[in-house]
Protein backbone atom coordinates (compact mmCIF):
# COMPACT_ATOMS: atom_id res chain seq x y z
CA UNK A 1 0.00 0.00 0.00
CA UNK A 2 1.36 3.41 -0.93
CA UNK A 3 2.00 5.98 1.77
CA UNK A 4 -0.97 8.28 2.31
CA UNK A 5 -0.47 11.70 0.78
CA UNK A 6 -1.53 14.74 2.76
CA UNK A 7 -2.77 17.48 0.50
CA UNK A 8 -2.26 21.05 1.63
CA UNK A 9 -6.00 21.45 1.63
CA UNK A 10 -9.06 21.40 3.83
CA UNK A 11 -10.38 18.05 5.07
CA UNK A 12 -12.99 16.66 2.75
CA UNK A 13 -15.85 17.37 5.12
CA UNK A 14 -15.03 21.08 4.95
CA UNK A 15 -17.58 23.21 3.09
CA UNK A 16 -15.61 25.29 0.54
CA UNK A 17 -17.97 28.24 1.04
CA UNK A 18 -17.45 28.22 4.79
CA UNK A 19 -13.71 27.92 4.21
CA UNK A 20 -13.84 31.06 2.08
CA UNK A 21 -15.63 32.95 4.84
CA UNK A 22 -13.15 31.79 7.48
CA UNK A 23 -10.12 32.69 5.36
CA UNK A 24 -11.58 36.15 4.72
CA UNK A 25 -12.06 36.60 8.49
CA UNK A 26 -8.53 35.35 9.21
CA UNK A 27 -7.00 37.84 6.76
CA UNK A 28 -9.19 40.66 8.03
CA UNK A 29 -8.15 39.88 11.62
CA UNK A 30 -4.46 39.82 10.69
CA UNK A 31 -4.83 43.12 8.88
CA UNK A 32 -6.71 44.87 11.69
CA UNK A 33 -4.51 43.53 14.47
CA UNK A 34 -1.03 43.34 12.92
CA UNK A 35 -1.34 45.54 9.81
CA UNK A 36 -0.19 42.89 7.31
CA UNK A 37 -2.52 42.98 4.35
CA UNK A 38 -2.97 39.63 2.60
CA UNK A 39 -6.62 40.26 1.72
CA UNK A 40 -5.98 40.56 -2.02
CA UNK A 41 -3.64 37.61 -2.36
CA UNK A 42 -4.50 35.00 -5.00
CA UNK A 43 -6.94 32.66 -3.29
CA UNK A 44 -5.85 29.20 -4.46
CA UNK A 45 -2.20 29.56 -3.47
CA UNK A 46 -2.96 31.47 -0.27
CA UNK A 47 -5.33 28.74 0.78
CA UNK A 48 -2.67 26.05 0.28
CA UNK A 49 -0.27 28.00 2.46
CA UNK A 50 -2.89 28.55 5.15
CA UNK A 51 -3.63 24.81 5.29
CA UNK A 52 0.06 23.94 5.45
CA UNK A 53 0.28 26.15 8.52
CA UNK A 54 -2.91 24.68 10.03
CA UNK A 55 -1.45 21.19 9.58
CA UNK A 56 1.93 22.20 11.00
CA UNK A 57 0.24 23.72 14.05
CA UNK A 58 -1.84 20.54 14.42
CA UNK A 59 -5.08 22.45 14.27
CA UNK A 60 -8.36 21.50 12.62
CA UNK A 61 -9.94 24.65 11.25
CA UNK A 62 -9.11 28.05 9.79
CA UNK A 63 -10.90 29.64 12.72
CA UNK A 64 -8.64 27.81 15.16
CA UNK A 65 -5.63 29.19 13.30
CA UNK A 66 -7.18 32.66 13.51
CA UNK A 67 -7.48 32.34 17.27
CA UNK A 68 -3.90 31.21 17.61
CA UNK A 69 -2.25 33.84 15.42
CA UNK A 70 -4.25 36.69 16.94
CA UNK A 71 -3.25 35.70 20.48
CA UNK A 72 0.25 34.37 19.86
CA UNK A 73 2.70 36.61 18.05
CA UNK A 74 5.16 33.77 17.48
CA UNK A 75 2.46 31.82 15.62
CA UNK A 76 1.80 34.93 13.53
CA UNK A 77 5.50 35.12 12.65
CA UNK A 78 5.38 31.52 11.45
CA UNK A 79 2.32 32.18 9.30
CA UNK A 80 3.93 35.36 7.99
CA UNK A 81 6.91 33.36 6.74
CA UNK A 82 4.57 30.85 5.10
CA UNK A 83 2.59 33.58 3.37
CA UNK A 84 5.35 35.89 2.25
CA UNK A 85 8.33 33.76 1.27
CA UNK A 86 9.15 33.33 -2.36
CA UNK A 87 11.37 30.51 -3.48
CA UNK A 88 14.41 31.78 -5.31
CA UNK A 89 17.88 30.88 -6.61
CA UNK A 90 20.88 32.68 -8.05
CA UNK A 91 20.42 33.20 -11.79
CA UNK A 92 17.01 31.53 -11.60
CA UNK A 93 15.86 31.12 -15.24
CA UNK A 94 19.29 31.57 -16.88
CA UNK A 95 17.62 32.45 -20.19
CA UNK A 96 16.20 35.57 -18.59
CA UNK A 97 19.68 36.87 -17.76
CA UNK A 98 20.93 36.05 -21.25
CA UNK A 99 18.08 38.05 -22.74
CA UNK A 100 18.64 40.85 -20.24
CA UNK A 101 22.28 41.11 -21.33
CA UNK A 102 21.29 41.19 -24.98
CA UNK A 103 18.24 43.45 -24.91
CA UNK A 104 18.48 45.63 -21.81
CA UNK A 105 22.18 46.22 -21.16
CA UNK A 106 22.62 48.24 -24.40
CA UNK A 107 19.79 50.54 -23.24
CA UNK A 108 21.38 50.92 -19.81
CA UNK A 109 24.70 52.00 -21.32
CA UNK A 110 22.99 55.23 -22.41
CA UNK A 111 22.28 56.28 -18.80
CA UNK A 112 24.82 58.13 -16.63
CA UNK A 113 23.30 56.55 -13.52
CA UNK A 114 21.17 53.42 -13.29
CA UNK A 115 18.57 52.78 -10.62
CA UNK A 116 17.34 49.21 -10.39
CA UNK A 117 14.44 48.27 -8.13
CA UNK A 118 14.24 44.60 -7.32
CA UNK A 119 10.74 44.26 -5.84
CA UNK A 120 10.15 41.16 -3.75
CA UNK A 121 13.81 40.19 -3.48
CA UNK A 122 13.25 37.56 -0.75
CA UNK A 123 16.65 36.29 0.47
CA UNK A 124 18.53 38.29 -2.17
CA UNK A 125 19.86 35.62 -4.55
CA UNK A 126 18.50 37.33 -7.65
CA UNK A 127 19.57 40.80 -6.52
CA UNK A 128 23.18 39.61 -6.17
CA UNK A 129 22.84 37.88 -9.55
CA UNK A 130 21.90 41.19 -11.12
CA UNK A 131 24.85 42.86 -9.37
CA UNK A 132 27.18 40.26 -10.93
CA UNK A 133 25.67 40.81 -14.36
CA UNK A 134 26.01 44.59 -14.13
CA UNK A 135 29.59 44.26 -12.87
CA UNK A 136 30.56 42.03 -15.78
CA UNK A 137 28.99 44.52 -18.19
CA UNK A 138 31.00 47.37 -16.64
CA UNK A 139 27.86 49.11 -15.35
CA UNK A 140 27.87 48.34 -11.65
CA UNK A 141 29.89 51.37 -10.54
CA UNK A 142 27.14 53.66 -11.81
CA UNK A 143 24.28 51.49 -10.65
CA UNK A 144 22.28 51.25 -7.48
CA UNK A 145 20.10 48.24 -6.75
CA UNK A 146 17.23 48.85 -4.36
CA UNK A 147 16.20 45.38 -3.22
CA UNK A 148 12.98 45.33 -1.24
CA UNK A 149 10.75 42.79 0.41
CA UNK A 150 7.81 42.88 2.79
CA UNK A 151 9.46 40.40 5.15
CA UNK A 152 12.10 41.64 7.60
CA UNK A 153 13.35 38.12 8.38
CA UNK A 154 14.30 37.30 4.79
CA UNK A 155 15.82 40.77 4.36
CA UNK A 156 18.21 40.07 7.23
CA UNK A 157 19.33 36.94 5.40
CA UNK A 158 19.70 38.89 2.18
CA UNK A 159 21.85 41.53 3.88
CA UNK A 160 24.08 38.84 5.39
CA UNK A 161 24.73 37.49 1.89
CA UNK A 162 25.43 33.92 3.02
CA UNK A 163 23.94 31.10 0.99
CA UNK A 164 24.00 27.33 1.45
CA UNK A 165 27.22 25.90 0.07
CA UNK A 166 25.43 22.86 -1.31
CA UNK A 167 23.58 25.02 -3.81
CA UNK A 168 26.69 26.55 -5.36
CA UNK A 169 27.04 23.80 -7.93
CA UNK A 170 23.53 24.50 -9.21
CA UNK A 171 24.19 28.25 -9.13
CA UNK A 172 27.44 27.81 -11.04
CA UNK A 173 25.59 25.98 -13.79
CA UNK A 174 22.90 28.65 -13.85
CA UNK A 175 25.58 31.34 -14.02
CA UNK A 176 27.27 29.74 -17.02
CA UNK A 177 23.97 29.26 -18.83
CA UNK A 178 23.10 32.88 -18.02
CA UNK A 179 26.08 34.10 -20.04
CA UNK A 180 28.53 34.59 -17.16
CA UNK A 181 31.95 35.62 -18.43
CA UNK A 182 34.19 34.78 -15.48
CA UNK A 183 34.47 32.01 -12.94
CA UNK A 184 31.51 31.93 -10.58
CA UNK A 185 33.77 31.02 -7.66
CA UNK A 186 35.19 34.57 -7.82
CA UNK A 187 31.93 35.81 -6.36
CA UNK A 188 31.89 33.94 -3.07
CA UNK A 189 34.10 32.60 -0.32
CA UNK A 190 33.36 29.19 1.15
CA UNK A 191 33.15 29.29 4.95
CA UNK A 192 32.04 26.27 6.98
CA UNK A 193 28.86 25.22 5.20
CA UNK A 194 28.06 28.68 3.86
CA UNK A 195 29.06 30.68 0.80
CA UNK A 196 29.71 34.32 1.62
CA UNK A 197 29.01 36.68 -1.25
CA UNK A 198 32.01 38.81 -2.33
CA UNK A 199 32.18 42.20 -0.61
CA UNK A 200 32.54 44.01 -3.94
CA UNK A 201 28.95 43.06 -4.75
CA UNK A 202 27.53 44.59 -1.57
CA UNK A 203 28.74 48.04 -2.50
CA UNK A 204 25.78 49.25 -4.52
CA UNK A 205 22.91 47.18 -3.15
CA UNK A 206 20.52 48.63 -0.60
CA UNK A 207 18.15 46.17 1.07
CA UNK A 208 15.08 47.65 2.69
CA UNK A 209 11.57 46.79 3.71
CA UNK A 210 8.85 47.83 1.29
CA UNK A 211 5.28 46.62 1.08
CA UNK A 212 3.96 46.50 -2.47
CA UNK A 213 0.39 46.54 -1.20
CA UNK A 214 0.53 49.60 1.04
CA UNK A 215 3.73 51.56 0.35
CA UNK A 216 4.30 54.20 -2.29
CA UNK A 217 6.88 54.73 -4.98
CA UNK A 218 10.27 55.78 -3.55
CA UNK A 219 12.47 56.49 -6.58
CA UNK A 220 12.49 57.03 -10.33
CA UNK A 221 13.86 53.76 -11.65
CA UNK A 222 15.42 52.71 -14.93
CA UNK A 223 14.74 49.04 -14.30
CA UNK A 224 12.15 47.27 -12.17
CA UNK A 225 12.60 43.54 -11.60
CA UNK A 226 9.61 41.77 -10.12
CA UNK A 227 9.69 38.14 -11.07
CA UNK A 228 7.21 35.55 -9.78
CA UNK A 229 5.95 37.84 -7.04
CA UNK A 230 2.75 39.18 -8.57
CA UNK A 231 1.52 35.63 -9.22
CA UNK A 232 0.65 35.56 -5.51
CA UNK A 233 -1.69 38.54 -5.90
CA UNK A 234 -5.24 38.60 -7.23
CA UNK A 235 -6.03 40.47 -10.42
CA UNK A 236 -7.15 43.66 -8.69
CA UNK A 237 -4.01 43.89 -6.60
CA UNK A 238 -1.85 43.04 -9.62
CA UNK A 239 -3.34 46.03 -11.41
CA UNK A 240 -2.70 48.26 -8.40
CA UNK A 241 0.95 47.18 -8.21
CA UNK A 242 1.39 47.64 -11.95
CA UNK A 243 0.22 51.21 -11.35
CA UNK A 244 2.94 51.61 -8.72
CA UNK A 245 5.56 50.23 -11.13
CA UNK A 246 4.36 52.47 -13.92
CA UNK A 247 4.67 55.52 -11.66
CA UNK A 248 8.14 54.43 -10.52
CA UNK A 249 9.64 53.93 -13.98
CA UNK A 250 11.23 56.64 -16.11
CA UNK A 251 9.98 56.85 -19.69
CA UNK A 252 11.68 54.03 -21.62
CA UNK A 253 12.39 52.31 -18.31
CA UNK A 254 12.35 48.52 -18.27
CA UNK A 255 9.95 46.22 -16.41
CA UNK A 256 10.95 42.56 -16.08
CA UNK A 257 8.37 40.00 -14.98
CA UNK A 258 8.56 36.22 -14.56
CA UNK A 259 8.47 34.26 -17.81
CA UNK A 260 4.89 33.07 -17.15
CA UNK A 261 3.56 36.42 -16.03
CA UNK A 262 1.98 38.78 -18.47
CA UNK A 263 0.74 42.31 -18.91
CA UNK A 264 -1.88 40.83 -21.27
CA UNK A 265 -4.49 40.64 -18.53
CA UNK A 266 -3.81 44.11 -17.10
CA UNK A 267 -4.85 47.53 -18.32
CA UNK A 268 -1.21 48.63 -18.59
CA UNK A 269 -0.46 46.49 -21.62
CA UNK A 270 -0.59 49.39 -24.05
CA UNK A 271 1.82 51.49 -21.97
CA UNK A 272 4.66 49.07 -22.68
CA UNK A 273 6.31 47.33 -25.60
CA UNK A 274 7.74 43.85 -25.17
CA UNK A 275 11.47 43.73 -25.89
CA UNK A 276 11.67 39.98 -26.44
CA UNK A 277 9.19 37.47 -27.80
CA UNK A 278 9.84 34.93 -25.06
CA UNK A 279 10.95 36.68 -21.88
CA UNK A 280 8.56 39.09 -20.24
CA UNK A 281 10.79 42.13 -20.49
CA UNK A 282 8.90 45.31 -21.28
CA UNK A 283 9.82 48.91 -21.98
CA UNK A 284 7.60 51.77 -20.89
CA UNK A 285 6.70 53.74 -23.99
CA UNK A 286 3.97 56.10 -22.81
Amino acid sequence: MALPVTLAAAPLAYDPELEKVEIALLLEGIYRHYGFDFRAYAYASLRRRVWKRIQAERLETVSALQGRVLHDRAAMERLLLDLSIHVTAMFRDPDFYLTFRREVVPLLRTYPFIRVWHAGCATGEEAYSMAILLMEEGLYDRSRIYATDINEVVLQQAKAGIFPLDRMQEYTQNYLRAGGTRSFSEYYTAKYDGALIARSLFRNIVFSQHNLVTDRSFAECNVILCRNVLIYFDKTLQTQVHGLFYDSLVTFGVLALGSKESLRFSKFEECYEQLDSREKIYRKVK
Binding site: V5, A9, A44, I231, F265
Partner: protein, 211 residues
Protein backbone atom coordinates in the same frame (compact mmCIF):
# COMPACT_ATOMS: atom_id res chain seq x y z
CA UNK B 1 -30.77 9.61 -17.90
CA UNK B 2 -29.67 12.82 -16.28
CA UNK B 3 -27.07 14.73 -18.25
CA UNK B 4 -24.17 15.81 -16.10
CA UNK B 5 -22.75 19.24 -16.74
CA UNK B 6 -18.99 19.51 -16.67
CA UNK B 7 -16.79 22.62 -16.56
CA UNK B 8 -13.30 21.37 -17.29
CA UNK B 9 -11.01 18.41 -17.85
CA UNK B 10 -7.76 18.01 -15.91
CA UNK B 11 -5.16 15.51 -17.09
CA UNK B 12 -2.05 14.27 -15.30
CA UNK B 13 0.78 12.19 -16.70
CA UNK B 14 4.48 11.52 -16.38
CA UNK B 15 6.64 8.87 -18.07
CA UNK B 16 5.22 8.13 -21.53
CA UNK B 17 3.05 11.23 -21.36
CA UNK B 18 4.05 12.82 -24.65
CA UNK B 19 2.84 9.81 -26.62
CA UNK B 20 -0.37 9.50 -24.59
CA UNK B 21 -1.15 13.22 -24.77
CA UNK B 22 -0.55 13.24 -28.51
CA UNK B 23 -3.16 10.52 -28.98
CA UNK B 24 -5.56 12.29 -26.65
CA UNK B 25 -5.41 15.76 -28.18
CA UNK B 26 -5.20 14.55 -31.79
CA UNK B 27 -8.50 12.70 -31.36
CA UNK B 28 -10.44 15.57 -29.82
CA UNK B 29 -12.29 17.94 -32.14
CA UNK B 30 -11.13 21.55 -32.35
CA UNK B 31 -14.60 22.55 -31.18
CA UNK B 32 -14.33 20.52 -27.97
CA UNK B 33 -16.41 22.60 -25.62
CA UNK B 34 -14.41 22.28 -22.39
CA UNK B 35 -11.04 23.66 -21.34
CA UNK B 36 -8.31 21.08 -20.72
CA UNK B 37 -5.64 21.59 -18.09
CA UNK B 38 -2.68 19.27 -18.56
CA UNK B 39 0.09 18.51 -16.07
CA UNK B 40 3.03 16.61 -17.54
CA UNK B 41 6.04 16.03 -15.31
CA UNK B 42 9.21 17.37 -16.87
CA UNK B 43 12.55 18.85 -16.00
CA UNK B 44 12.99 22.35 -14.70
CA UNK B 45 14.79 23.44 -17.85
CA UNK B 46 12.02 22.07 -20.07
CA UNK B 47 11.23 24.57 -22.77
CA UNK B 48 8.11 25.14 -24.78
CA UNK B 49 8.80 22.12 -26.99
CA UNK B 50 5.97 20.08 -25.50
CA UNK B 51 3.40 22.70 -26.49
CA UNK B 52 4.59 22.85 -30.09
CA UNK B 53 4.84 19.06 -30.40
CA UNK B 54 1.24 18.68 -29.25
CA UNK B 55 0.04 21.63 -31.32
CA UNK B 56 1.24 19.87 -34.47
CA UNK B 57 -1.31 17.13 -33.86
CA UNK B 58 -4.47 18.99 -32.93
CA UNK B 59 -6.92 21.71 -33.82
CA UNK B 60 -7.24 22.54 -30.13
CA UNK B 61 -5.16 25.53 -29.04
CA UNK B 62 -2.18 24.37 -27.00
CA UNK B 63 -0.05 26.72 -24.92
CA UNK B 64 1.83 26.85 -21.66
CA UNK B 65 -0.39 28.61 -19.17
CA UNK B 66 0.41 32.10 -17.97
CA UNK B 67 -0.62 33.44 -14.61
CA UNK B 68 -4.31 34.51 -14.51
CA UNK B 69 -4.94 33.15 -17.99
CA UNK B 70 -8.68 32.59 -18.55
CA UNK B 71 -9.77 28.96 -18.94
CA UNK B 72 -11.21 28.66 -22.44
CA UNK B 73 -13.11 25.90 -24.25
CA UNK B 74 -11.02 24.12 -26.86
CA UNK B 75 -7.81 25.26 -25.20
CA UNK B 76 -5.13 23.03 -23.70
CA UNK B 77 -3.57 24.86 -20.78
CA UNK B 78 -0.21 23.20 -20.08
CA UNK B 79 1.35 23.54 -16.64
CA UNK B 80 4.73 25.23 -17.31
CA UNK B 81 7.93 23.59 -16.03
CA UNK B 82 8.98 24.66 -12.53
CA UNK B 83 5.57 26.07 -11.54
CA UNK B 84 2.48 24.55 -9.93
CA UNK B 85 -0.72 25.32 -11.79
CA UNK B 86 -3.76 26.07 -9.63
CA UNK B 87 -7.30 26.22 -10.93
CA UNK B 88 -9.30 29.25 -9.86
CA UNK B 89 -12.83 30.19 -10.82
CA UNK B 90 -12.48 30.84 -14.56
CA UNK B 91 -8.70 31.10 -14.79
CA UNK B 92 -5.34 29.48 -14.04
CA UNK B 93 -2.93 30.80 -11.48
CA UNK B 94 0.69 29.77 -11.01
CA UNK B 95 2.91 29.41 -7.97
CA UNK B 96 6.58 28.70 -7.36
CA UNK B 97 5.80 27.04 -4.01
CA UNK B 98 8.12 24.14 -3.20
CA UNK B 99 7.94 20.93 -5.20
CA UNK B 100 5.49 18.40 -3.80
CA UNK B 101 7.19 15.03 -3.49
CA UNK B 102 9.87 16.11 -5.98
CA UNK B 103 7.41 17.38 -8.57
CA UNK B 104 6.76 20.90 -9.75
CA UNK B 105 4.35 20.95 -11.46
CA UNK B 106 2.56 18.49 -9.21
CA UNK B 107 -0.52 16.68 -10.51
CA UNK B 108 -1.99 16.39 -7.00
CA UNK B 109 -1.76 20.17 -6.50
CA UNK B 110 -3.58 20.94 -9.75
CA UNK B 111 -6.23 18.25 -9.27
CA UNK B 112 -6.92 19.29 -5.69
CA UNK B 113 -7.45 22.92 -6.63
CA UNK B 114 -9.70 21.92 -9.54
CA UNK B 115 -11.77 19.68 -7.25
CA UNK B 116 -12.19 22.33 -4.58
CA UNK B 117 -13.00 25.07 -7.09
CA UNK B 118 -15.28 23.24 -9.54
CA UNK B 119 -16.53 20.28 -7.48
CA UNK B 120 -18.64 17.93 -9.56
CA UNK B 121 -17.86 19.93 -12.69
CA UNK B 122 -14.42 18.34 -12.96
CA UNK B 123 -13.36 15.41 -15.12
CA UNK B 124 -9.98 14.14 -13.88
CA UNK B 125 -7.83 11.79 -15.96
CA UNK B 126 -4.67 9.97 -14.90
CA UNK B 127 -2.59 8.63 -17.78
CA UNK B 128 0.71 6.76 -18.00
CA UNK B 129 3.46 7.50 -15.47
CA UNK B 130 6.16 5.99 -13.31
CA UNK B 131 5.17 7.34 -9.88
CA UNK B 132 1.95 7.82 -7.92
CA UNK B 133 1.46 11.57 -8.25
CA UNK B 134 -2.17 12.28 -9.14
CA UNK B 135 -3.72 9.56 -6.97
CA UNK B 136 -4.55 11.80 -4.03
CA UNK B 137 -5.76 14.53 -6.39
CA UNK B 138 -7.98 12.14 -8.34
CA UNK B 139 -9.38 10.84 -5.05
CA UNK B 140 -10.23 14.45 -4.18
CA UNK B 141 -11.97 14.97 -7.53
CA UNK B 142 -14.08 11.84 -6.98
CA UNK B 143 -14.84 12.80 -3.37
CA UNK B 144 -16.06 16.22 -4.48
CA UNK B 145 -18.44 14.57 -6.95
CA UNK B 146 -16.34 14.91 -10.10
CA UNK B 147 -15.70 12.16 -12.63
CA UNK B 148 -12.48 10.12 -12.33
CA UNK B 149 -10.99 8.39 -15.35
CA UNK B 150 -7.87 6.23 -15.33
CA UNK B 151 -6.03 4.98 -18.38
CA UNK B 152 -6.18 1.17 -18.50
CA UNK B 153 -2.74 0.28 -17.10
CA UNK B 154 -2.45 -2.43 -19.74
CA UNK B 155 -2.42 0.29 -22.41
CA UNK B 156 0.02 2.57 -20.56
CA UNK B 157 3.73 2.97 -21.32
CA UNK B 158 4.24 2.89 -17.58
CA UNK B 159 1.45 1.31 -15.52
CA UNK B 160 2.56 2.61 -12.11
CA UNK B 161 0.68 5.90 -12.13
CA UNK B 162 -2.64 4.58 -13.47
CA UNK B 163 -2.46 1.55 -11.16
CA UNK B 164 -1.90 3.78 -8.14
CA UNK B 165 -4.80 5.98 -9.24
CA UNK B 166 -7.08 2.99 -9.67
CA UNK B 167 -6.21 1.76 -6.18
CA UNK B 168 -6.88 5.22 -4.73
CA UNK B 169 -10.16 5.62 -6.63
CA UNK B 170 -11.80 2.20 -7.09
CA UNK B 171 -14.87 3.87 -8.62
CA UNK B 172 -12.84 5.42 -11.46
CA UNK B 173 -13.73 4.57 -15.04
CA UNK B 174 -10.88 2.55 -16.51
CA UNK B 175 -10.55 3.13 -20.25
CA UNK B 176 -8.07 2.25 -22.95
CA UNK B 177 -6.21 5.38 -24.08
CA UNK B 178 -7.90 5.27 -27.48
CA UNK B 179 -11.37 5.20 -25.87
CA UNK B 180 -10.86 8.33 -23.77
CA UNK B 181 -11.34 11.03 -26.48
CA UNK B 182 -14.72 9.72 -27.64
CA UNK B 183 -15.79 9.31 -24.03
CA UNK B 184 -14.91 12.96 -23.35
CA UNK B 185 -16.69 14.20 -26.44
CA UNK B 186 -19.85 12.43 -25.28
CA UNK B 187 -19.58 14.11 -21.88
CA UNK B 188 -18.78 17.60 -23.12
CA UNK B 189 -21.57 20.07 -23.79
CA UNK B 190 -22.81 19.94 -27.35
CA UNK B 191 -20.71 21.91 -29.78
CA UNK B 192 -22.96 21.40 -32.78
CA UNK B 193 -22.69 23.67 -35.78
CA UNK B 194 -26.14 25.14 -35.14
CA UNK B 195 -24.77 26.84 -32.05
CA UNK B 196 -22.90 30.07 -32.73
CA UNK B 197 -19.46 30.13 -31.09
CA UNK B 198 -20.27 33.23 -29.08
CA UNK B 199 -23.01 31.49 -27.14
CA UNK B 200 -20.98 28.40 -26.43
CA UNK B 201 -20.60 27.80 -22.77
CA UNK B 202 -17.52 29.45 -21.41
CA UNK B 203 -16.20 28.78 -17.96
CA UNK B 204 -14.85 32.28 -17.69
CA UNK B 205 -18.25 33.88 -18.13
CA UNK B 206 -20.13 31.67 -15.71
CA UNK B 207 -20.33 33.21 -12.29
CA UNK B 208 -21.80 30.18 -10.49
CA UNK B 209 -20.20 26.93 -11.61
CA UNK B 210 -21.07 25.05 -8.46
CA UNK B 211 -24.58 23.77 -7.69
Amino acid sequence: MTARVFDLVVVGTSWGGLHALTILVSSLPAAFALPLVVVQHRGRQGDSLLASLLQDHTGLRVAEAEDKEPLAPGHVHLAPPDYHLLVELGYCSLTTDPAVRYSRPSIDVTFESAADTYGKGVIGIVLTGANDDGSAGLRRIADRGGLAIVQDPATATSAIMPEAARRAVPSARVLALEEIPAFLVALAPSSSASQPPASRRSVASRPEPRR
